[in-house]
């Protein structure tokens, strides 16, 4: 029974990481319909940015977060301006183009920084665990969970309470009409893409102390994050959060009932079925695209 509680926590921890990655992806996909296969590489860039800040400037992971966000968002902005914006009318081709971007980013890191795993220290003040009976929770993981909820809330506020959010939703509803009202859809798209990339960067910064920092670290995560987005429903933040939770917990629980691999296969199969029978996801947003 103890294992079950610990697994629930592990699932929550995995879900929180998935959530931050998926949020950026969900916003990009929900707004522009772009399947961004380079998203995993944005996560990777975030991790490397954190590593660079720590090893060359002595900045800790938590302090680095805003800097990493800005840095990766800038990369995202450039990529949107230079490449992605020309492909909005060809959604299938964005899959291919962003895959190409992913290869290039990975290779750039490999050639510039090296292929070997980099070491990033977690913050000292978050080391250690909280123990409640047999339940052991790592402080750092708790921090990641809290932080992901904060990011979710922040994004929600941004979407619903700010002028930018209003414009964004207007563009999602109907690009043509929004432009008639003087909203520059192109600008909104660029900012949104950059914001999504920035969130991926933050995710990368948060996971480096836990995982190994290597050029391919994002590739595996992006498939999972994608399934989260699609399972959650287009452009629905609540859906994305719920799907991340669901997938995180189901993966964690399956992994004790069967094993990690079969658990993952079962989750993948479940999501395929979900897409088949609820193509608009768990919580479809009330938008007609």
């Amino acid at each position: 029974m103890d294992v079950v509680f610990n697994q629930v926590f592990a699932g929550l921890s995995f879900a929180s990481i998935l959530l931050i990655i998926a949020l950026g992806l969900a916003i990009i996909y929900g707004t522009m319909g772009v399947i961004n296969l380079a998203h995993g590489e944005f996560v990777m860039l975030g991790a490397y940015a954190t590593w660079a800040l720590q090893s060359f400037a002595g900045i800790g992971v938590v302090t680095a977060l805003p800097l990493v966000f800005v840095a990766v968002a800038a990369v995202g902005w450039i990529i949107e301006k230079g490449i992605v914006q020309w492909l909005y009318h060809r959604p299938l081709d964005t899959i291919l183009a962003t895959w190409g971007i992913g290869i290039i980013l990975q290779q750039a890191i490999r050639m510039g920084v090296g292929a070997e795993s980099k070491f990033v220290r977690g913050p000292d003040w978050l080391s250690g665990n909280i123990e409640i009976g047999t339940l052991v929770m790592s402080n750092y993981r708790i921090f990641v969970i809290v932080f992901s909820v904060a990011v979710l809330t922040g994004t929600w506020l941004l979407m619903t309470r700010t002028e930018f959010g209003m414009k964004l939703r207007a563009v999602i509803q109907n690009r043509g009409i929004s432009e008639c009202y003087g909203i520059e859809a192109k600008r909104v798209y660029s900012v949104t893409f950059a914001y999504g990339a920035g969130l991926a960067g933050i995710a990368g910064a948060l996971i480096t102390p836990l995982f190994s920092t290597i050029p391919t670290m994002g590739t595996g995560l992006v498939v999972d994050a994608f399934l989260v987005v699609i399972a959650g429903g287009l452009g629905s933040l609540v859906g994305t959060a719920a799907a991340a939770m669901l997938i995180g917990e189901v993966t964690a629980l399956f992994s004790i009932v069967i094993n990690d691999t079969l658990g993952r296969i079962a989750v993948l199969a479940g999501i395929i079925l979900l897409i088949r029978f609820r193509p608009r996801g768990l919580f479809p947003a009330d938008t007609r695209r």
Binding site: G114, A115, E116, R121, N129, S212, N259, D260
Partner: protein
């Protein structure tokens, strides 16, 4: 069809590999030439310089190349220089097969040195056997193979575990938790460990395999907490091992109570893990960088001089290094007119030499007699050897399977 003959470390230079291409003096074309009938001796280097296993294989490449250049600097073999032909199989089995063909068929190499993973060796094997060439494989592996075309330089299960397991049971206890990546090496090592544990009345409290590259070990650590084993017996490789070690450390589990004992963790993984997180855990291997011997001192010094002060040597690149010397010794025994892969193989059998780990010997089954050691990792990223086998241990590729033996005539079933 210009070919890069002599690459140096182009791959590691980090900038465009263009430098490698330009530094290639186009020597003679190898097509249509008999083995080593020319002015030099073509040998293939088949280590991934790019892709997932490049981090490890590049160090093997470096060590092998260093040995080749040392030999050339000392005048070559029978006055002929070794000509390394470098191919990059990019960590992909299909590319290994393709590049191995280039080396063995097109370039007519007398031997090819290469690769780290089992799957890449398997990919090279068909062409090595079909062309009766010789593949020098420096990595520890799962055994149960008895090819006459592969020279195995790494440790086998019996060479890694025979002294290790009794010592662990005695010092830490009999309850083992087995964790490994999901492929043949971990399964075979665990099979062998289980036969040893049976005699020592140890038990396996849990055995599990995670996919290659798996990096979230929360569930595993939860189970470890619940089971409270005496020893965590790890055959995780590469990035999975790094992630596991980090998360073990972050979870504040105690290496004094539940040490992770790894068959695969070397200096190179510890460098990525960070010394602090690796400290207190154990590895079992025939070689560690900190091993004290004159040969090793020389090896480490030369390696650092060549590849930088923070470069590390480890139990696989040590083998990649000494295998080139084994090749040289065998070649020297042969009349230059008789050079052919099978003759090199036959000349190498029974030959002994002083390697950095100690004096080693090539068995007639083409595996190597080695010096098993157990070491504990220190916070500075180095291993301290705390247990060393008193005698050289013979390789038994079928140790876990009574009734089968690999001999000089191939596999014999008794």
């Amino acid at each position: 069809m210009k070919r890069r003959e002599f690459l140096g470390r182009a791959g590691a230079v980090g900038t465009m590999g263009l430098a490698g291409g330009l530094s290639a003096p186009a020597l003679l074309s190898g097509v249509g030439r008999a083995y080593a009938a020319g002015d030099d001796i073509p040998v293939g280097l088949l280590f991934s310089l790019t892709g997932a296993v490049a981090v490890v294989e590049h160090t093997l490449h470096d060590a092998a190349l260093m040995a080749i250049e040392e030999i050339n600097a000392a005048g070559g073999i029978h006055g002929k220089q070794l000509r390394p032909i470098i191919e990059d199989p990019a960590s992909d089995p299909a590319t290994y097969a393709d590049r191995a063909r280039r080396l063995m068929i097109r370039d007519k190499c007398v031997s090819v040195f290469g690769s780290y993973t089992s799957s890449s060796r398997q990919a090279v094997l068909p062409v090595a056997e079909q062309r009766n060439n010789l593949y020098w494989y420096p990595t520890l592996y799962e055994g149960r193979e008895c090819s006459r075309n592969v020279m195995y330089g790494g440790a086998l299960a019996n060479q890694q575990q025979d002294i290790l397991i009794p010592w662990l049971v005695e010092n830490y206890g009999p309850r083992f938790y087995m964790i490994g990546n999901n492929y043949v090496y971990p399964k075979e090592e665990n099979n062998y460990c289980k036969t040893l544990l049976k005699d020592l009345s140890g038990e396996v409290v849990h055995e599990e395999y995670v996919p290659m590259g798996h990096s979230d070990f929360s569930s595993v650590l939860n189970r470890i907490r619940a089971e409270e084993p005496d020893v965590i017996f790890s055959t995780l490789v590469g990035d999975s091992d790094v992630a596991f070690a980090r998360q073990y450390h972050a979870a504040e589990l105690n290496p004094e109570k539940m040490p992770v004992v790894s068959l695969t963790r070397s200096e190179i993984e510890v460098k990525a893990i960070g010394g602090e997180a690796a400290a207190g855990h154990f590895s079992s291997a025939p070689y560690f960088m900190g091993h004290e011997s004159p040969e090793n001192e020389k090896f480490v010094e030369a390696y650092k001089a060549r590849y930088g002060a923070d470069a590390v040597t480890h139990f696989v690149n040590e083998a990649a290094y000494f295998q080139v010397y084994q090749f040289k010794n065998a070649m020297e025994k042969l009349d230059p007119a008789d050079v052919s892969p099978p003759n090199i193989r036959d000349a190498a059998v029974g030959m002994s030499m002083k390697a950095p780990q100690g004096e080693i010997l090539i068995d007639e089954n083409l595996h190597t007699h080695l010096w098993p050691k157990v070491a504990q990792w220190q916070a500075d990223g180095q291993a301290k050897v705390i247990l060393q086998s008193e005698e050289r241990v013979a390789p038994k590729p079928y140790a876990a399977y009574p009734g089968q033996e690999c001999t000089g005539k191939g596999l014999v079933k008794t």
